[in-house]
Symmetry: C2
Subunit: 141 residues, 2 copies
């Protein structure tokens, strides 16, 4: 018995408005929940990207039916990668350029997978990668 | 144009051997890459879970074809969630108990989604959640 997959991926940012502008404008992610000052959540394929303000999630108690949601919160540059199809890789490069978002590094991996790395407004390392990098197919995931 | 989904989800841990034991024994994740002291990577559904030692990824230069992989690294408790089917939820609870892993909190969300929260050996908040929590189906993702 294994999990079906990963449902929630989490990054941290203090400026949630900047994060929301970045992830909705550049990646067209849909906002599915928002608590100003605490978090903003996005749907992405069959999972969700959660962005939390660590000052809140580390210290504040949020109750659901009298149960406290576990605390967490990290400082420093986190990392995540979006899956993009090989056929759209160049179009993504163009979109980043048009948006004035610098590509920090581009890597062609030994197995033919490709990655573009950029930074979100909080300094997290965000990667656009072809699923081939991990031997995975390009079905929506 | 949106990403297909999330390809890489990242947590941090200094004791990578403990992390590997935890994620392979409790969740049956397959190790797909390992650099002792720096990282261990697992396949999970159509994505991968990356666990890095932040002492290394923050400070060390790793070159791929003379290009330095971007640095990142966070301190503090991170968070992620595995998707598990509703039909297996009780079996997961039993597995955690059998493994001596404490359930920190259990939540039944207003929309009927269910979550079990535990801690990995590094203190990260790991959740087992039914996809209904985010209005998502139980197809492998």
């Amino acid at each position: 018995m294994k999990p079906l997959g990963i449902l929630e991926t989490c990054l941290y940012a203090r400026d949630l408005e900047a994060a929301e502008r970045f992830y909705t404008s550049l990646f067209e992610l849909e906002v599915i929940a928002r608590m100003p000052g605490r978090h903003v959540f996005f749907r992405c394929g069959r999972g969700v990207l959660l962005i939390f303000n660590p000052d809140k999630t580390e210290a504040e108690t949020v109750l659901i039916d009298e149960t406290a949601v576990p605390r967490h919160g990290a400082r420093g540059a986190g990392h995540m990668a979006f899956a993009v199809p090989e056929a759209e890789f160049e179009t993504w490069r163009g979109r980043l350029a048009a948006a004035g978002v610098a590509v920090e590094v581009e890597i062609v991996w030994p197995n033919g997978g490709r990655s573009l790395y950029l930074r979100d407004p909080a300094g997290n390392s965000v990667e656009l990668a072809t699923p081939r990098l991990w031997g995975l197919s390009e079905e929506p995931s």
